[in-house]
């Protein structure tokens, strides 16, 4: 052991080290899960005081690597050095002792407890056996909050806070534990553009105060805006260590994916046809009984993509559920008008229909929760490919006895057409990567030849290659005259695909704008800001033209 601890001496040969010792150095980290190699001899070197981006596609091993650094996952092999010293990190307690803090992608906060309780948890004033000193905890939180310029109400319950504020609590929590090395795992995924700018300002200030920051992301623009250096991972391996100033989005994307990627969606301007989906004054309640939709109204035309933008939790999920029959509307009306096929011109009132009935009248749905409501993970690709259409005469005799050979053929066709990478259609869907799972859903839903396609978070957790593919298919469907309702928390996705953008805030549509609207303008709308007169006129013009 003693000899091993002396190995940092060997580093003295590294000229870099003398100038700026690494805050964190991870060497040859390997970690395999059953069936997956998450980290394959990964190296990471982060200098003191820098903001270091760790980028890669989903499944590239970024989070695993950081969970190893924070002690949540034990590596199979490899060495970790913190400030030049070899360390063993057996659990988060060791990481905290080494002044490492982590802000997780899914916040590690306890909703029914207060801000102060969450921050001091585990290191409460007085130690474990003492009575909880509420006043002292408040004081400590307020001091911390003042010192780093991160205002917060220590007595608020976490469940009442916005996502942005919750993230602030997470950062304060790490700072309370005297973190000098701060890991942030995809911190901007849930933030509005404004909240993102604020976060970046905070991180720059922290970095100036000497904190080392490791920033995990797959958004290339953020890498360029914020960071000093970049480590790129692909499929569990290092593929690049770059200086941010000397690189660009295309180069990073190429390293991440392993080939040239089209970052922009190519599409012609839309040629909208007649109205397919008409929604009037829609109201609905959330699971908790709150008014989730408060009078939503909009139309989607054939041959256009209407994007629904907004911070998550402003009623988008409920809207999709109501439209697809999974949640009951408390008031309002929704109709589908066929614009093509045998029933062209026929209008159906889908208010109060069951999910099956909604499908039958020509609505296809890519659900936001792929694993929860899109697929039966343990079932085969074949069976998932006909999920919801198993009564079609082509798949079942008398709507009851499955025609297995027919189904297998169908699945093989979809897998081919939609480039699902799998050795067999008999495999359980669980065995596929996230991107390929999503392609199974997209294939199934497109193949139904719907009048309206509802795509909720269609590229969530999907790698860049599959994103490119799904985007292209969506635009193809639009050009084929389908009406498409796109709901996404990714503003870039909304802006690059949509022909019109409806912004939702607290259960209402605050405005419908063109995709040319600036990010600032959209961000303002997403936080409930009043739409400017200019954009109203613009919108009137845009809809008037169509």
């Amino acid at each position: 052991m003693h000899e091993q601890e002396k190995t940092p001496l060997a580093q003295a040969a590294d000229p870099d080290l003398a100038a700026s010792p690494y805050a964190v150095e991870m060497r040859d980290i390997c970690k395999a899960w059953p069936g997956v190699v998450a980290n394959d001899h990964v190296n990471l070197r982060v200098r003191q005081g820098e903001i270091h981006a760790l980028v890669g596609e989903n499944g590239a091993g970024k989070t695993t690597l950081m969970n190893i650094l924070y002690g949540l996952v034990r590596p199979d092999s490899g060495e970790i050095f913190v400030n030049g010293e070899r360390v063993h990190i057996g659990g988060p307690r060791d990481a905290i002792r080494l002044h490492i803090g982590m802000v997780h992608q899914h916040f590690m906060l306890i909703p029914p407890l207060t801000v102060a309780e969450n921050i001091v948890l585990g290191q409460e004033p007085g130690g474990p056996m003492a009575a909880y000193d509420r006043r002292r905890a408040r004081e400590l939180v307020l001091q911390l909050s003042a010192r780093y310029g991160l205002p917060i109400d220590p007595d608020a319950r976490i469940e009442k806070l916005s996502v942005g504020l919750q993230q602030r609590v997470e950062i304060l929590k790490a700072l309370y534990r005297a973190a000098d090395i701060l890991i942030l795992d995809e911190p901007t995924g849930v933030l509005t553009p404004q909240e993102t700018y604020e976060l970046f300002d905070v991180l720059r200030v922290l970095s100036r105060q000497g904190k080392t920051i490791i920033f995990i992301t797959h958004k290339l623009r953020e890498v360029l805006d914020l960071t000093d250096r970049v480590t790129v991972l692909r499929r569990g391996r290092n593929v690049g260590e770059l200086v941010t100033r000397e690189t660009n989005q295309t180069e990073i994307a190429r390293l991440m994916v392993g080939r040239e990627v089209l970052l922009r969606v190519e599409k012609r301007s839309a040629r909208p046809g007649p109205v397919v989906l008409r929604v009037e004054n829609l109201h609905a309640r959330s699971d908790r009984g709150l008014e989730a939709l408060q009078g939503i109204g909009f139309e989607v035309h054939a041959g256009e993509i209407l994007g629904i933008a907004g911070v998550e939790g402003n009623g988008q999920s409920e809207l999709v559920e109501v439209l697809t029959g999974m949640r009951r509307a408390t008031a309002g009306r929704m109709t589908i008008t066929h614009t093509s096929g045998e029933q062209a011109g026929k209008t159906y009132d889908i208010t109060g229909m069951s999910p099956r009935e909604v499908r039958l009248v020509g609505v296809a749905h890519i659900p936001e929760d792929r694993r929860g409501s899109g697929l039966v993970l343990s079932d085969t690709i074949e069976n998932n490919a006909i999920l919801g259409r198993e009564r079609w005469p082509r798949f079942a005799w008398a709507r009851f006895i499955l025609r297995l050979r027919e189904i297998a053929q169908w699945a093989r066709r979809l897998v081919g057409e939609f480039d699902v990478r799998t050795p067999s259609t008999r495999l359980p869907v669980r065995a596929l990567s996230g991107g390929n799972q999503q392609k199974v859903i997209v294939a199934r839903e497109f193949a139904a030849d719907p009048q309206l396609l509802i795509a909720a978070q269609p590229t969530r957790g999907v790698d860049i290659g599959a994103i490119e593919f799904i985007h292209r298919r969506l635009v193809e469907q639009r050009d084929a005259g389908k009406a498409i309702l796109l709901v996404s928390a990714e503003l870039d996705e909304i802006r690059s695909l949509s022909d019109r953008i409806a912004v939702m805030y607290e259960g209402r549509i605050v405005d419908i704008v063109t995709p040319e609207a600036s990010e600032e303008e959209l961000g303002l709308l997403m936080t409930g800001g009043r739409p400017s007169e200019a954009s109203r006129e613009e919108q009137a013009q845009a809809t008037g033209d169509s």
Partner: protein, 316 residues
Amino acid sequence: MFWPIFLRVITSGDLWQASLQFAALLLLPALGGVISERSGVVNIAMEGMMLIGCYVGVAVTLASHSVLVGVLAAIIAGGLLALVHGVVSIHLKADQIISGIAINVAALGLTNYLNIVQTGGQGIPSLAFNLRLPVLSWGPLAQLPFLGQVLFQQNVVFYLAIVILLGLQFLLFRTNLGLRIRAVGEHPQAADTAGIPVRLIRYACVVASGLLSGLAGAFLALGVAGTFNPNMTAGRGFIALAAVVFGKYTPLGAAGACLIFGLGLALSVRLQDTGIDSNLLATLPYILTIIALIGLVGRTVAPAADGVPYEPGSAE
């Protein structure tokens, strides 16, 4: 015929003394349930842990001629059985309901078997009074009309239960350790990343529930019955479980529920003079339990991670 007797029963000190005694008997395993579930481990095995406490309490008291040693042994036996539940559900991450059922069934069989083997099928005779848990009489206070009998002539474990009740309420909601226990039960990942030893806390809480159930068993066998009978807990551990839910997973709430159930149990005994069939009366506390649960469905919220084994690193 019914009403005069009912009135006499309901106003008698006997009824309320018995109610409180039965309530205390339910309260101990209920407090065990509260602390275990608060830490995120579902424990439905209080019944079995109590029964083991009954048997070990009596057996060790007889062997050692010391009721104190018997009680300590009962507590430890309950704790050990809980440790089994802990290993199965925390370490091996098995289904906590199945583990609980297994423990209940095993405890029933084991105590029956040992009872038969030890006494040659004769059963354990009534214990001498010096080998029972004593009733504490609070001097002049015990002489008060009504209240004296109800509050100041109870078994020593009754007063112990009240001390434990208040202590546990304080521990859970007013101390740093309590904050950690609640954090572990709500969101073990969050607790782990905050540096809290999730498994250790869960083990401690599960074992505590066993210690309390074992004490309750000793109370029942050595304080109330003065002997051991097969299956003498008669579902009390399950009523305690209902009290945990009914009491919204708080010690004081559970105590309130135990009072109601205790009254039901006492009534079912005392109302036998009214001519209502005794078998029917015996169902009263259980019917009360069901009514209480139905009336509260959807209104009690269990700790968010209750019953979910913790997998470190599963946050991805």
